[in-house]
């Protein structure tokens, strides 16, 4: 029988094959395959779910169950720029609603929708883990923190005019961001021996030395 993804880009087919091979129980491949299928189709279409079902031996209903559980598997068409505005508690307290309104105004796209041209999709999302830099948003999952309604609108207009091929968090942060949650600094902190464990003894104390807390 011909492969269910024979019409995919050969590179994607190759990646699908490696994913299928990687898992002894091929059902486990359902999530990476969904991701790949959504790259091929632009989003997780019904066809994509049926293809993943055929590749994994699940039923389409089971694949749909997984795909619909995770909000980052997009089951509707997504624009070239996906603007995700956090509206969870920290961002909400720091004006996320106004940021969202500004984004809607600048893009002309209401929350949860995509414009006809396919340029923007706007959505509100739950906490994206940037509370320290609230209010925060993401463009294609790249962070911009400490934004204001005006800066957010400016960012959207820039996207529309410049149409960057790739969006980079660092670049957007410089142009449109405010105070970020923390400065990652140099990638390798100097003088540190190892990452500080979250729980358990640290410092000079070692387990069994009696000096721990």
């Amino acid at each position: 029988m011909s492969s269910p993804i024979a019409h995919w880009d050969p590179e994607y087919q190759r990646r699908a094959a490696t994913i299928v091979e990687r898992y002894p129980d091929v059902r486990s491949a359902v999530m990476p395959l969904l991701y790949l299928a959504s790259l091929h189709h632009g989003h997780v279409t019904e066809e994509a779910m049926e293809e993943v079902a055929a590749l994994t031996g699940l039923t389409a209903a089971q694949v749909q169950s997984v795909a619909s559980f995770y909000t980052m598997y997009k089951r509707e068409r997504v624009g070239r720029y996906l603007v995700s505005v956090c509206t969870s508690i920290s961002c909400f307290l720091r004006g996320a609603d106004e940021v969202l309104a500004a984004v809607e105004g600048a893009t002309g796209v209401v929350d949860g929708e995509t414009d006809d041209e396919g340029l923007f999709t706007v959505e509100h999302v739950e906490c994206i883990g940037a509370c320290g830099g609230a209010p925060a948003l993401q463009v294609n999952y790249e962070f911009v923190e400490g934004v204001t309604p005006a800066k957010a609108a400016e960012l959207c207009r820039w996207l529309r005019d410049a149409r960057p091929e790739v969006v980079l968090g660092d670049e957007m942060q410089l142009l449109f961001g405010g105070r970020p949650s923390f400065d990652p600094g140099a990638p390798e902190p100097e003088g540190a021996i190892a990452p500080v464990p979250a729980f358990g003894p640290y410092g000079s104390a070692r387990p069994g030395t009696g000096g721990g807390r």
Binding site: A60, Q62, V63, S68
Partner: protein
Amino acid sequence: MADAPDQVSITLDGRVVEVPRGALLIAAAIEAGTYIPHFCWHPRMKPVGMCRMCLVEIDTPRGKMLTTSCTTPVADGMVVETSSPVVKKAQEGVIEFLLINHPLDCPVCDKGGECPLQDQTLAYGPGDGRFVEEKRHYPKPIPISDLVALDRERCILCARCTRFSEEISGDPLIEFVDRGNHVEVNTFPNHPFTSYFSGNTVQICPVGALTARPYRFRARPWDLEAVEAVSTVDSVHSKVSLEASMNEIVRISGVDCDPTNQGWLSDKDRFVYEHLLADDRVVVPLIANGDGFREASWGEAVGLAASRLADLGGAVAGLGGARSTNEDAYVFSRFLRGVVGTPHLDAQLDDGLAPEFAAAVEPRALIDDLDDADAILLWGPDLKEELPVLYLRVRKAATAGAKLVVVHPRRTGLDDVAAHTIRYRPGEGPALLRRLAAGEGDLAEARDALGAGKVVALVGRPGLAEPAELAEAVAAFALTLDDARILPLVRRGNVFGALDMGLAPTLLPGRVSVDDAERRRALAARWGSLPDGVGMGATDILEAAASGRIGALVLLGVDPVRDHPRPDLARRALERAFVVALDLFVTDSTRHADVVLPVAGLGEIQGTVTNLEGRVQKLNRVVPPPGQARPAWSILDDLAAALGSELEADAVEKIFEELATLAPAYEGLTWDRFDWAEGRDGVVVPLEGVTPPLRHVPSDPGLAVVSERPALHLARVLYDDGVLVRHCPSLASLAPEAAAHLHPRDASVLAVREGDRVRLEGVGVVELPVVLDPTLAEGTVYVPFNLAETAALGAVPSVRIDVVREAGS
């Protein structure tokens, strides 16, 4: 502390009880008499802890703790509170939560009156809720298949339906979609819930979210009258309750019978009652009149039948009885042999197995043997299509670790749980069997799997075009293994009961060979006389009738034109002979009858039946037969009287008593044994210590190999165009498309593509569209048996294929 090693003791609301080690707390408590409310837990499925209704308090080293009793195994010394104030508060909270989005539309809900949510809200709920906001809304209800409707507003997300589909039936077409407050149960768009078992989800849904479309708004549960019976759709005999309202059966529910169906039914078992209410059911005696029939009185019809049978002396034969009760079959056997004086009778139509093998194979397996088998050999029909509840039992055993070896010409419903699947071209079975027995080449692993420990061999005919002897040869091979038992597979309703009642040319009632002189004397003493010698089987009977050597045929619930491998022969026989038919319908066969006598059907009579493992169970009556229909035994009694003989068949209990005296395998049974205690699950015959009946040990018969032409795999499907399904409006539309299935390589040799048409010539000629099936053995054509478009083909080992080319292409 507990004494028995497999018991532990727990304190349940202050009471110390012994419970099985390892049991789930909820099951142990309910078993010990303390009910714990629950929704998602189901004793036949794995727990999920989804609904939180089963919360109890348990003493732990850190104090009392609320926990779900459906996910907690018992431990020795466990102290459990099931109705403390804390537990009650938790239960009230859970109910209040579950009702937040529930529409409370009980007055228009089918489940109302037997709804666990309704009942438990009354018993454990707070009586009021604080949620005043708008509830979730969905269009209600939506059809998710031809049989099931879904109302998502009522769903409490217990996952019983989804777990059933995945864990039990293995076709997860219904699943949760979305998450959080948006979670709903649903199917994939355009992939309806076409499971053969979908009705079970309706039965186990603890609310009215899933309803059966044939039953919707037909009755209120408190108006239903119910009796226990078994499903006679196939020979597994799943336990059911027949539920009637205003003298019509409107619902069949599964009853949990541990040794057989464990609560589950196929949708065919569940919705088959519709045929009883069919408009064209025969409800008055009919006498042939020109091309059709005219209605007649019982006196006239029986008189006519009897006078013609009397004229013909012994040149009479009987066919059928495999869809009747044991009592009907016994009386039929006695009528034919003792009254008419003919040895020619057959319950099968050369579409099953050799009678001695099917009835008396030794050692015979019970269905329960599957559960502790190390390996299961299935060389026979696709169980999902022919014996769906047995399919569930095999699936369960295989999932639990038994090594399943499936041998079949194409993919079967069990392949996904099989350790080894072996395909072969029909006709090449004997050669394959020899290679399997020797463990040659690629069959070595499968042979090894069968070599160790307890083996259950499920043997039957994979397709109707394969010889019955193949099954016996497979059984003979299985008996060369250390510890193997055989379960013979024949589908038709009560075929095993009919054989046990002697409805075969070579058998007398009670699994006795016709040449057992001692038993013959006993029977002749009771019956008055017994014809000499071995009579003819179905095919010979039909040939004799077609050529005039047999002048009359008595048919009891049998449709040879549809079910015999040679439909043309059956038609000629019925056209030529004088035919008396006892049936529910005018069928393709009974339309050729001279007299049609209306018989009562399921739920309209009492009687016993015997399943494929030899389990005798009782059918009860819940409605009167319609019109003038009567039990077959009573009709045969009248016919005998008109022939000047006495059958003494005036009450079903008396007939049962008689057969239990004269049929050795049934010795020791009593009529009311089936009503109480363990007898409710039926009794496997023969009981220990009775007159030993025939014990047939399979032998390896010589088998021919087929020709070079394409082999025919002609196999039954669950929903065919048989008389039952055809008369059930809800099921008739589910029959698959008739097609000739070909392996893609064979198709390319013939230069046909999917959808092209081919003409197949067997006994008759049929024209069918091609479907490509890469799972089919090469050199084979698979055709579903007994669909309207395939009925004429007949069961021949090989067929001729011609491609139908469109003019000009």
